[in-house]
């Protein structure tokens, strides 16, 4: 994308209002779903359901409210790298914790 495309014009994508309201309603519905799902006994799956819904909600906020879907590719790449480092921090820490024989319960 060259700058001339935007010369004199607004330089950000203007997200249509129906998208904002659609995302808003979807987020509210997902909040209801995640609360309701917590009362259903899914065993170990409960935490995965809760986190999956949270990831979907966070993605909606990132993509539409924070315009990540409409920005230059550099920004989404940087965000992905940050989450990658976060995943590294949690996984390597857990690799250490899990391998110390501290678990006496189901994970042991």
């Amino acid at each position: 994308m060259t700058r001339d495309d935007h010369a004199g014009a607004r330089h950000d994508h203007v997200v249509p209002l129906p998208i904002y309201f659609g995302v808003f309603v979807t987020l509210l519905v997902l909040t209801g779903v995640t609360t309701a799902a917590a009362f259903v006994d899914l065993g170990r799956l409960n935490v995965f359901v809760a986190l999956t819904i949270a990831v979907v909600k966070a993605s909606l906020v990132l993509l539409y409210f924070m315009h990540l879907r409409y920005t230059a590719r550099l920004t989404p790449l940087m965000v992905a790298i940050a989450f990658f480092w976060l995943a590294m921090m949690i996984m390597l820490t857990m690799a250490d914790v899990v391998s110390r024989g501290w678990f006496t319960g189901a994970l042991g």
């Binding site: 700058r3 808003f24 987020l27 006994d41 809760a50 909600k57």
Partner: protein, 226 residues
Amino acid sequence: MSERATALAGQGNLPPATAHQFDDAVQQHEASGLGMWVFLLTEILFFGGLFTIYTVYRSLYPEAFGHASSTLDIELGTINTAVLIGSSLTMALAVHTAQVSRNGRLVALFLFATIALGSVFLGIKAIEYAQKFHEHHVPGPFFHYEGADPQQSELFFCLYFLMTGLHAIHMVIGVGILGVLGVMALRGRFGPDYYTPVELTGLYWHFVDIVWIFLFPLLYLVERHT
């Protein structure tokens, strides 16, 4: 200074001139956005440390975390989640309005609505905190827990107060910034030519919303089905 910036400066109140290191206002705007994102990425890792600690202790003490989580008020937690999502919508509408119109009053209205919803969230949070103080569930010398594994539960409440507290501090800062922006909007500072502060504050506000989107299931919904 570009022609556009010169023309805008002629209007008296818009916008700050393009700094000398930028080619034009567009490049300056993009650099501002990227800078804000870099800040938010450091915030991801800032909160990420707490999420890591949470993961470690929840995996070590799943039962205690489940029981301690069930002492939180799930109704207030759910309502607060909805309130915060609503504040994200009004924030997005403030940015949108500044992008497409010169209606400073409408921008200010959405900004103040965001402040109002953020304050409702903080108020509900204060009620929840008061309940926890009343029940002696606040970690420290007066901590008292009637259920099993009080020490492991105290860890959960430590994380509850640290994570929601850090989140609340971010909201208080956000409300302060939004107040300044609201006054600027009333003075007609923002419009399609210049809305960078509104947009960047929006990014910050939505980020704080995302943190809560993860805090809510991890703190309130651990083991509700028993």
